[in-house]
């Protein structure tokens, strides 16, 4: 028997490199759903890294996936506990991770100052504004910051232990490692808040471009080189809301600089195309060298995407979560068979059309059956 972990790594790597895999590789898209599957809670996961790994790994012991999209709690929730405000928090179900509404930190009259020096703006203005515990008098403010910093650093370093467990215990590689990257415009959207950022695109497009330019250094490559696998994680939230002209003129130039910085050092980027982009926007990925971009699709048509960018970029087939939740096992298998027969097994793999975040997002029996079928059905 070969090394299962290495075989799976090769399978996913071949998919990215357009080597025919003769079967459909499949990635687990279980995020916090994995916690519900293990009958646990986010709070329990936060008690120790070992516990978190055990909880997230449970579904990988029961279902045979070739890789996992995200493994572990992907926000520093313990750090927020010291700061009096949590930009991300557990829902009442104890499992689903939610983003808070009021996270905007950049006001109308601050864009110029922010653009001049984002780091100084964070340090001198924005961070204390967001976190009430840092507004306290000395030494309480410093004690809160020290405690948060310790937990943040522990969270940043947790990846190595998770990767070790994935290799030794669960024999399933994570698709991405290291610190994720982001399009500068997505971060602008986060700092301004969605409503204001969308208005800015019309009222002050030049200022938006300049602010995005100032954010580029925060998201460019930091390592000397990057491996062929795993890939660099890059979720993209904002593109789906832009029209093609805004995308080309405002979003793309700084985003391309970020992606180029990784590709120049050998990296491959896992781009999660959140929402529906349309071919007018995702066709821009043809600008990059072949086999350097892996597109995770949500609402875009995978057959059209395969035709437009499939020769240069690997794509995920966005298997419908609704079918995995409500369909019968036979319907799931039939859908999978038809999809594989139509789209082939070169430069493509199965994921789902949404990340699995909440209890009940999919029927586990259907999910297990889908993974099994992928390994049995060779073409």
């Amino acid at each position: 028997m070969g090394n299962v972990y290495e075989e799976k790594r090769t399978l996913m790597s071949n998919a990215a490199n357009h080597v025919d895999t003769h079967q459909m590789p499949i990635a687990s898209m279980a995020q916090t759903w994995a916690i519900a599957y293990a009958n646990s809670t986010l709070d329990e996961c936060l008690t120790s890294l070992d516990k978190e790994i055990e909880v997230y790994g449970k579904h990988l012991l029961d279902m045979d996936f070739d890789s996992v999209f995200i493994f572990g709690v992907n926000r520093p929730l313990n750090a927020y506990k010291h700061l009096g405000f949590a930009p991300y928090f557990a829902s009442p179900d104890g499992v689903t991770l939610q983003a808070a509404d009021n996270t905007a930190i950049l006001q109308d009259d601050e864009i110029e100052r922010f653009t001049r020096d984002p780091s100084a703006f964070f340090r001198e203005v924005a961070i204390a504004r967001r976190y009430p515990a840092l507004q306290q008098d000395s030494p309480k403010d410093l004690e809160a910051m020290k405690a948060a910093a310790k937990d943040l650093m522990a969270w940043l370093q947790a990846g190595k232990k998770r990767d070790k467990a994935l290799k030794k215990v669960y024999q399933t590689p994570a698709l991405a490692s290291g610190i994720p990257t982001s399009p500068p415009f997505d971060q602008y959207l986060c700092y301004r808040g969605f409503q204001k950022a969308i208005v800015d695109l019309r009222r002050r497009p030049e200022q938006v471009k300049e602010a995005c330019e100032a954010l580029v250094p925060f998201f460019t490559a930091t390592e000397k080189s990057y491996p062929d696998f795993p890939w660099v994680m890059n979720p993209v939230v904002g593109a789906t809301y832009l029209n093609p002209k805004q995308f080309e003129e405002i979003f793309w130039p700084t985003y391309k600089k970020v992606l180029d910085s990784y590709i120049e050092k050998g990296g491959k980027i896992l781009v999660a195309l959140e929402g529906k982009w349309g071919k007018e926007k995702y066709r821009f990925f043809n600008d990059f060298p072949a086999n350097s971009i892996i597109c995770f699709l949500e609402d875009d048509d995978p057959f059209e995407a395969k035709e437009i960018i499939g020769d240069r970029c690997a794509i995920s087939y966005p298997f419908p979560v609704a079918l995995l939740k409500h369909g019968s096992k036979e319907e799931v298998i039939e859908h999978a068979k038809q999809a594989i027969d139509k789209i082939g097994t070169t430069g493509v793999f199965f994921a789902t059309d949404k990340c699995l975040m909440s209890p009940g997002d999919v029927n586990p029996e259907n999910y297990r059956a889908l993974a099994e079928f992928c390994h049995e059905y060779h073409v």
């Binding site: 750090a79 961070i127 507004q135 410093l142 910093a149 943040l152």
Partner: protein, 38 residues
């Protein structure tokens, strides 16, 4: 409320291993600050 956190930096650097070069410590602290804006 706005408040400049720059004076905290020397204290935060003390949390890091003493042997790390100054620029590495600065990078880590910058990363911590940046992570709190995400």
């Amino acid at each position: 409320m706005n408040k400049d956190l720059t004076p905290m930096i020397p204290e935060l650097e003390k949390l890091l291993p003493f042997f790390l070069p100054k620029n590495v410590k600065e990078n880590i602290i910058n990363m911590v600050f940046f992570a709190l804006t995400l």
